[in-house]
């Protein structure tokens, strides 16, 4: 079973991203489960959502405490929240940012991937100039990072579920798929052990 934790802010489409990914993975043959850590969040407040996938039926119905991977929808969250909490060593951290964070030592036990999803969302006019909706771009980046689900499954899920600008959303996912930088392991000891 694979568990992925998403960190975002209210209004960025974080919960929708987990649902669409659940649908895309389901389409790709997985059993899935996705749900938000529900608070009373409004626009801008930090939110968390989870995605579980497995080849078999998933029984566990608890929050995710030891995710295999983490997705960070907004780089400003890195200051307030320990996004690596419970993250399994060697897991991916996908961050929406225009540059690799300078203090990437804190991610030394993990594999780092970055994508400028904000720029991609603005390019395709998703959301507003002040509040771009980055979820579909992040989905595309995740698909490249994990080498699953297939981009077609994501396109299909977007097509079925997003009534507003579906083509642009699909294109954003594709752009992110192409543009994501898979930095990989940053810490020396893991680099060597993996090397």
């Amino acid at each position: 079973m694979l568990e992925i934790r998403f960190h975002g802010r209210g209004g960025q489409g974080t919960v929708v991203a987990t649902i669409l990914l659940a649908k895309a993975f389901f389409r790709a043959g997985y059993y899935v489960q996705s749900f938000p850590l529900f608070g009373v969040e409004r626009r801008g407040a930090p939110v968390e959502a989870y995605l579980r996938l497995d080849e078999d039926h998933i029984w566990v119905r608890t929050n995710v405490y030891q995710p295999d991977h983490v997705v960070v929808m907004d780089k400003t969250l890195l200051q307030g929240i320990d996004v690596t909490m419970g993250l399994k060593p060697g897991g991916w951290i996908l961050i929406n940012t225009s540059s690799i964070p300078p203090n990437s030592e804190q991610f030394s036990r993990y594999r780092l991937a970055v994508v400028d999803a904000t720029r991609i969302a603005l390019r395709h006019r998703l959301g507003t100039r002040t509040h771009p909706i980055v979820n579909t771009a992040m989905m595309g980046a995740l698909a490249r990072m994990l080498e699953m689900p297939p981009l077609e499954a994501i396109s299909k899920a977007v097509e079925e579920e997003i009534p507003v600008r579906p083509e642009q959303n699909i294109q954003a996912a594709k752009d992110a798929y192409d543009e994501v930088q898979l930095v990989g392991l940053t810490g020396p000891e893991l680099q060597s052990s993996a090397g």
Partner: protein, 389 residues
């Protein structure tokens, strides 16, 4: 067709497939997604029903009591404070023998404000004459809603279909949405045994003096008793069409079990994972899921638990001054057996606190290690609190 569906939307799909005629509800988190989806169905014509907007949950149920009296299929959904506000009319609906179906999303009662899951809201209504069915998965929620109409209309009593807030109501997972033909094959059109009809005027629910009131109440009890036998009949019919059955209770490897965990709702799911692990470790542990709480399936509970050494009932609820409510019912069911297991009562996960595999392991370990079974409930994982002075 299998789809990744939210638990709330699974309820809405079932209501659509049940061809409900009148819906009335008042929004409250975490129930709102159910009626939002239903209002979409009414608006886009996928469901030909009247959606009555009202100013409170009390009015929502009042509206349905009126609608149901005319002999049509009705639905409402609520949660927590909303259900509490309905209390008066819950009695009315059952006393009037109206087959109303309600989705009840378990949410904690305030204060302090808490929107997360907790069964005390629905269990506090256990004496209102409504059937109560607790669900574990999105699929079960959809199926149980369809079954609820069958049961309600068969015995003329209302039903609550109960699901955990967020862990079920807001969780997306694969759910098979049946076709309308399949559903029609299981759930025929509603044929009311009485109804308001201008061609045959009559008055309902007027004065019932002491010389008849008691008989009317006895009648409700008799109807509730019938549910236990009808449940199997209903599931047979359901199984023919859908190939699934749940049982009013579901025992998992209980026959040879020394310790049996008793659960309801989504705690059951995680408990299944634990039970598998423990069995793999060689522990003789069973799991009993209680789906039907009202009427309480005491016979089945006695049969399944009677032979175990210890029973651990996990309650996500509390009747203050008495403890876990499922535990009370289980103990009451077992009390007249000459040889009976020790029944441990655990309270866990109130107000949405996560009941993780670790918590469940702790419960199992405690039950196994403890020689003397305490009468009181054991509260799991309490934090240290600084009391207000």
């Amino acid at each position: 067709m299998k789809q990744v569906l939210e638990g709330s939307h699974a309820v809405a799909e079932a209501v659509r497939l049940a061809r409900v005629n009148v819906i009335s509800a008042y929004p409250i988190t975490p129930q709102t997604h159910i009626v939002e989806r239903l209002s979409d169905f009414c608006a886009d014509g996928r469901l030909d029903a009247r959606f009555l907007r009202v100013e409170s949950e009390h009015s929502a149920l009042a509206a349905l009591i009126g609608a149901s009296s005319t002999g049509v299929r009705t639905f409402t959904a609520t949660s927590s404070q909303g259900l509490a506000l309905m209390h008066e009319l819950l009695h009315w609906a059952s006393g009037a023998r109206l087959p109303i179906v309600m989705a009840e999303v378990n949410r904690a009662l305030a204060p302090g404000w808490n929107i997360w899951t907790d069964q005390t809201d629905s269990l506090a209504q256990r004496d209102t004459g409504w059937m109560q069915l607790y669900c574990e998965t999105g699929q079960e929620v959809l199926d149980t809603t369809l079954q609820a109409y069958w049961l309600a209309e068969t015995v003329n009593l209302p039903v609550m279909v109960i699901l955990d807030a967020f862990f079920l109501s807001h969780t997306y997972e694969p759910v098979d949405i049946p076709s309308q033909e399949q559903v029609n094959g299981f759930l025929p059109d509603y044929q009311p045994r009485f109804q308001l009809d201008t061609r045959n005027p009559c008055a309902f629910n007027q004065l019932a003096p002491p010389n008849v009131y008691m008989e009317m109440r006895h009648n409700i009890q008799q109807a509730m008793d019938q549910v236990l036998s009808r449940f199997g009949q209903m599931e047979d019919g359901f199984g023919v069409v859908f190939g699934r059955r749940y049982g009013e209770v579901e025992p998992l490897q209980c026959d040879d079990a020394q310790i049996i965990l008793v659960t309801s709702g989504t705690i059951t799911s995680t408990s299944r994972a634990l039970q598998q692990q423990l069995r793999a470790d060689g522990e003789r542990v069973g799991l009993l899921k209680i789906k039907l709480f009202r009427p309480f399936p005491a016979d089945a509970v006695r049969r399944i638990l009677g032979g175990a050494q210890k029973v651990a009932v996990i309650d996500r609820n509390c009747s203050f001054g008495a403890g876990g409510i499922f535990a009370q019912e289980v103990r009451a069911a077992l009390c007249n057996l000459s040889a009976r297991p020790l029944v441990f009562s655990y309270i866990a996960g109130l107000g949405g606190r996560d009941v993780t595999l670790d918590v469940l392991k702790l419960i199992y370990r405690h039950t196994k290690d403890c020689e003397h079974c305490p009468d009181d409930s054991i509260w799991m994982g309490l934090h240290e609190v600084h009391h207000a002075t």
